[in-house]
Symmetry: C2
Subunit: 238 residues, 2 copies
Amino acid sequence: MIKAVLFDTFGTIVDWRSSIAKESKELARSKGVNDFDGDAFARAWRAGYAPGMARVTAGKEAFVSIDFIHRQRLDEILPEFGLAMLDEDERTHLTLAWHRLDPWPDSLPGLTRIKSKFMISPLSNGSLMLLATMAKRAGIPWDFIFSSDMHRAFKRDPAVYQNAIRLLHLEPEQVMMAAAHNDDLAAARNEGIQTAYINRPTEYGIDQRVDFAATSDWTIIADSVEDLADQLGCPRMY
Amino acid sequence: MIKAVLFDTFGTIVDWRSSIAKESKELARSKGVNDFDGDAFARAWRAGYAPGMARVTAGKEAFVSIDFIHRQRLDEILPEFGLAMLDEDERTHLTLAWHRLDPWPDSLPGLTRIKSKFMISPLSNGSLMLLATMAKRAGIPWDFIFSSDMHRAFKRDPAVYQNAIRLLHLEPEQVMMAAAHNDDLAAARNEGIQTAYINRPTEYGIDQRVDFAATSDWTIIADSVEDLADQLGCPRMY
């Protein structure tokens, strides 16, 4: 009955924390900042993500691309990490580190199998070029891409899920949302979409406060994208 | 300087006429209609395409998916081709023949090369599921998909090209539109987009009245998608 499986990306498909930690650490080293904590930097940067989107969802700010939110937060945190000397080009390049995130090891094998039976797409707060670059660089085999710019809204705004259903010309129950975040799945279920929880208990490292396990009876509860492929009956090819 | 190349699909990437002729001919044979002219059927069906979109662009009808326009036209022409007996399921399945069009022989080799240097996407009047199914079935390696449903408008409405530029976060001159139709390129150039003409002089068969050659000094004039790849400096890998 399911025709399309939509995936959250940050944290569910890609490991933003270790990717950002690695790239920022290399940049810091090249600048002579040797006591740089890449993991703390990644967590501090990410901490600006939800508040930035919340201002848009609450109607306090017009819709802006996630790239803009990433850049604003970067400018805020650079001084406390000893990187205030970064110039405009370096800040632009570092902001695009969010376009260069590495998938979790199970993501590509699992998505390849799920793609053999269903349409697969991100349903992400990323911008189109962020998601397209991420996919192209890492080989993520999306059939198409839904970006927040297309909806001009961020999850968990119901408009995002409703717009995806409308663009797919499918009934809500023919669509499945897969995410490592219980509140994303709750918002999807409110629109009648089926739900798959993928457990990523290390996503936020020492900052993780929620999403250590499924908190509701989602349609599927999985430990990885490969486990989701198994539970969706997608053949193992190797 | 170019970052993304956007392609018209019907006629430019896929050969709708021979694909529809073949599938309709097989269906007619299975129904015992033996004097069926598949090529005439394909051309008659396609003749409802531009008028159907024109009613939307002129504001006479609300935006509807191209699948709906295809179905309306199908119902109109079935009697004259001896297929009035088709039931609802058969009509639905036949309408989806537009999701199963075959690429021209040069399309996949050319797109694969262009993808190695640029983001590639359709900028098509097709619906999302039409374009995603077409790509998945035939292996068209789009980086992402722009569908008319996302713009809620059809080419040559300027809104389509403007919305694509907005979603890409690119300057118009960083985007190239590639099409076999001079008027599509003219509409793109009006928005500052670069243009590539791909000659498809047999697209409409005996119905073809225009687009036997480039009618303006487009940025690139090519005989095929592989020729476009050559002119864009994309390496030959084989």
